[in-house]
Symmetry: C2
């Protein structure tokens, strides 16, 4: 399987207002502790799962050794409950000495030695959501400097116990403070999630100027209901959210829960497909030490990742909501390609959805279709009716491109009629079924 990537993106598409730290030109990928491990600090009874340097070292080893890093999953992100309950004598944050005896800097080195990056967490309020020391306005500078000294690569700034006024000052201030350290530190802002995620309370132009990514909406939980709830909110508000996203500045619908306890395999494929459509950060929150091979193969699907990482960075959208409870999502990609997702909201049985590319507003022509999860390929005329069989709570995901040889023929034949080049393809067989 080969996915053609346009390396030189037309200037037209480059975000002009993105945070100027050069980071995250495509959505970040990696691992984040929160959803799966929460504030588990009980290392006595739960040593393998408590928030400690061992957990992050374990995950770093898995990312480095099990093929994740090569696919782009390179962040290892600490979330809440990592710090001591007290700042040190110099007023600096310090990790819990029992759970992080080696300190954060040593952990960062461990990761860097393996080609990975370290993320850390703080909060705009007096306390973090979990009750650990926060980073209110007067601590922003010192904490940014501490993170830089520790050689941290990303910082998530949560919003518990802070008000709108403090957030309005604090989130931009932290952006400046991080930039002022001289170390490139990607910046994740929870700000919009605390202000309802929508204008006029949320200013997405400003967010794109100060943050690399931002949580727009509530925390994901380990349930399909939670995933659906997030998908619905992002779809309902897509006209506001899509322009906000671009290289260096991403909407964040929260972590991937694939490999945890609450999703079936169909639902796991759906989360992967729709997070790719949404150009979402791909932070897994799961146990990479014990993940099933099926869940891993979904998270490691190269074409889904390629679609997520498309260099144009255009967030996709819901384009069709059928009465049959089939929804169609589309994301424009580089190389005149696109990703299509047929998503079933049904809970009965596989649904045979009949449509054509023309009905989905594709222009006249023959397209090459690659099925992301079955790896089948075919050629399809815009006018050809086809049937996709979509499983309940599942997706069929396509990478759609104008056939390469079409362009070659056009080029070498000086723009002669298109049809003849495809006489051998079975593009007229109707209907087609993709299982």
């Amino acid at each position: 399987m080969h996915f053609p990537v346009v390396v030189f993106v037309p200037a037209l598409f480059v975000a002009t207002f993105a945070l100027d730290n050069g980071l995250m030109r495509t959505p970040p990928m990696g691992w984040l502790a929160w959803e799966r491990y929460r504030c588990d600090i009980d290392c006595e009874h739960d040593p393998k799962n408590c928030i400690s340097e061992n957990l992050f070292i374990d995950m770093a080893d898995r990312l480095a050794e099990d093929g994740w890093r090569e696919l782009g999953y390179d962040y290892v992100n600490i979330d809440d409950c990592w710090s001591s309950k007290e700042r040190d004598k110099q007023g600096r944050l310090q990790p819990d000495p029992k759970r992080f005896p080696g300190g954060i800097k040593k952990l960062a080195r461990y990761l860097h030695d393996r080609g990975l990056k370290l993320g850390i967490y703080g909060d705009m309020g007096t306390l973090t959501c979990g009750g650990y020391p926060g980073t209110p306005l007067d601590k922003i500078e010192i904490d940014a400097q501490t993170f830089a000294e520790w050689e941290v690569d990303m910082f998530k700034y949560d919003g518990c116990y802070s008000n709108a006024t403090e957030q309005e000052r604090g989130y931009p201030l932290m952006s400046k403070a991080l930039n002022a350290t001289g170390r490139p530190i990607a910046y994740s802002c929870s700000w919009p999630a605390y202000q309802g995620g929508l204008p006029p309370k949320v200013n997405y132009t400003q967010l794109g100027q100060i943050c690399n990514l931002w949580r727009n909406y509530g925390d994901i939980q380990d349930s399909w209901d939670s995933v659906l709830n997030i998908i619905d909110w992002f779809s309902e508000n897509q006209d506001v959210l899509i322009p906000a996203a671009g290289p260096g500045r991403w909407n964040d619908p929260d972590m991937l829960i694939i490999g945890d306890f609450g999703l079936s395999m169909e639902q796991s494929r759906s989360q992967m497909a729709l997070w790719a459509i949404m150009a979402a950060p791909l932070f897994m929150s799961n146990d990479l030490r014990t993940i099933s091979s099926k869940a891993r193969s979904i998270l490691q699907n190269k074409m889904a990742i390629s679609i997520n990482q498309d260099p144009l960075g255009i967030q996709g959208k819901l384009i069709l909501k059928e009465k049959s409870n089939i929804e169609v999502f589309l994301r424009p990609l580089s190389n005149n390609a696109s990703a299509l997702v047929f998503f079933s909201r049904r809970t009965d049985m596989p649904y045979r959805y009949k449509t054509s590319l023309a009905k989905l507003n594709y222009t006249t022509g023959s397209y090459k279709v690659f099925n992301v999860f079955t790896e089948e390929t075919m050629t399809l005329k815009d006018s050809a009716e086809f049937v996709v069989s979509v499983n309940p709570t599942g997706v069929v995901m396509w990478y759609v491109s104008p056939p390469a040889k079409l362009n070659l023929h056009q080029f070498y034949n000086g723009g002669k009629l298109l049809g003849s080049a495809y006489d051998d393809d079975d593009e007229n067989a109707i209907p087609r079924v993709f299982l």
Copy 2:
């Protein structure tokens, strides 16, 4: 693994009012088409999945060849949409000639030859729910006779397009008509589901006298929400439902959807465990031709099946609802044993639930515990505190019995002190973790 079954049940526990056809002394087990295949009659485009004799033959082959039958799964049940839209010239129901060219009798023979049984479907109204000919009052006798002639073994009588008055006459009449055929035909009544499932509209004493099983509540769908909804309704109304159940007469919370599209493996184990606790009929509705090995191993779990099939036939109950969203279910079993299920309604991470058998109202003594899904065993004093780690939306399920050697020692030593026999067991280690 060995599960001691009491073959001779004390007369005390035998249901005195059960339908007198001698059938279903333990909950029926098998396969039922509806949830997975619905009213798919499109054999042209979907030949493998449409409601046709081929589908039932395929499932019969799987039940017979893949180890299901030996475990007790022996019914193959047709649901709606099997018949022709017209009765024949003699006024008898007839199968759709294109989809069941061999006829029902031949299909029944095919199943009987393989040690399986055939179930069929009808409806109290003028039409079935799917719009096929119903079996209203004046057709009850002829249809019962037809089913007996076809050598059908079970009949599900649905309630669409009928009113309460007709149901009050029709459901008992069909019971008599089936008995009058002389062929033992198990009788499944959808009556209570059409009357809200609760007294005074529903008379469970009467149901136990005329039906072998009955649907109390709405149809299951392929989603965890649907499973939870059913569990909640059965738990909320358990004081009404438990006395209704017993050998030959069962509450039916509807099909097992394990192996379909909507449940994770945790959730699949939860459905299996709670259906076993509820002494529920175990009718799978899935594709046995393509089922994953993980889903199969849950459905084929011998101890879960043994618990479901316990000869006392006492329906279990929710005994504890913790603030932590852990729920504990208990079912009394023969041989002074019991089944315990620790069920997590959480959607965050595995929860370490701490309790003791004494807190769950077990009497003083040492118990032998068998973990149904991990197959670990241990000995546990009633007073010993233990910890079970319960995954989100998952269960830990135990078969709990007084240790066999305890009884032997008691017997041979004439009732001497109990403790000494267990000095070698590590029953005092606290807390214990079952992963």
